[in-house]
Symmetry: C2
Subunit: 274 residues, 2 copies
Amino acid sequence: MTQQWWVDGEEAAPWPADDRGLRYGDGLFETMAAPNGRIAHWDRHRRRLRLGCDRLGIAGPGDATLADDLERLDLSSPAVVRLLVTRGSGGRGYAPPAQGACRRLWQVSAWPQIDPAIYEAGIRVAFLHTTLARHSVLAGIKHLNRLEQVMAARELQSLEVDDGLLSDDTGAIVEAVSANLFVRHGAIVTTPPVSECGVAGVVREVILDGAADLGIEIRQGSVRRADVLLADEVFVTSSIRGVVPVRSVESVTLADFSTARTVREYVDAQAVCA
Amino acid sequence: MTQQWWVDGEEAAPWPADDRGLRYGDGLFETMAAPNGRIAHWDRHRRRLRLGCDRLGIAGPGDATLADDLERLDLSSPAVVRLLVTRGSGGRGYAPPAQGACRRLWQVSAWPQIDPAIYEAGIRVAFLHTTLARHSVLAGIKHLNRLEQVMAARELQSLEVDDGLLSDDTGAIVEAVSANLFVRHGAIVTTPPVSECGVAGVVREVILDGAADLGIEIRQGSVRRADVLLADEVFVTSSIRGVVPVRSVESVTLADFSTARTVREYVDAQAVCA
């Protein structure tokens, strides 16, 4: 491995084979950008992790523990930081232990090569056949049950596009494989809700919260295939790549990246402030 | 840990922190009974694992590798054997690596204390609020995305019953938390299909395949709450506990365990033969 990792604060410690994260995906994770020595939007990542722990009934790490962890990370060069928190070991089968301690894994890896052209020229996306199951108790949080995304990424590997759009079983578009989706029609920007499935992405939240600052009407609402195909502008958002314009959806070409550019500058500015 | 484990054949080896099983639940598992020095229904477990690997596109371990692994296990006292196979390490995010090697974890732990009274007196079950999402690509196989079962087991901990019945979002009963369900009405025994969600349990398969030998009409079909509440007999099946009669569903009491007893004897006999 070309990365550093810490298990419960101990560098390069082994991961226990009886951990419930491995057994059942019983945990959560955050993938975070640290392009300049600090984790962008750390407070939002920390809050989403806390929300996920609450939802799953995991006694997550306290703020002091996380602050100690952060001190250990070497972020002197641009890095991707991954924090994974599981319910730890124990319990009888699926049933969690009565008094369980969570386990945490921090991983720091080198910043990936991202082609800067994607921000100027946009990416190509297609609709995927892989669907997301609707399941409200797990919706929105970034849990470790990610086989749907793995299957979607496998489907994507067979296509000549850069990303894929996932629907639920009603045909509603939810998100891209590892990014949230925004579509603009005239002056109104819409992103699908994540109340039944999908992940409440941190950059998505920054944008929703920043609508007033941005002076853009941004709302959560139903997005169907036709809404994507007839959009004036489409962009996807994620913690590592930020805001990325879409230049084609299936055979439909998009040429206007202006809102994506405005939103991207805003998100980047927010990251520095955090 | 009070158990032995092997990672890719190496005893007590560490589990890599970048494994995709931990990251995404990108893998499968089998929980198997070895009550008398051999793994019951091993061939069926092996086949289900193979099917799961095929479905997820994981190049699973070959038969020779698994045979070597089996030689290492100390099954001199009654044990539960757990085999976990993941897609291994690597890939870009969710996307699997082009040429990935699977990783396997064998774990042997002591046979659990099972109260023999459950086979004579039956267990109490209730309907759970936790639902199972319908998702055909993952249905039937025993993958590592088990948060639904963890949440169901948490709900069960708050109830004064022994097991819980899970429905999908249409209200169809699918299975118990970690067991399959059978209901008998008159001469006909029904078990819910596992084509949209649920696990195709090994003992369930033994029973379905053995219907002719058993001289019982056993079919896969829709089971709703009323079908459970109005059943003449209800039983649940799993690899570790085998065939367990149900003595109450919510406030409804059941007194006839005769089919469960017949089926249990048949399943146990099949396990010895395997």
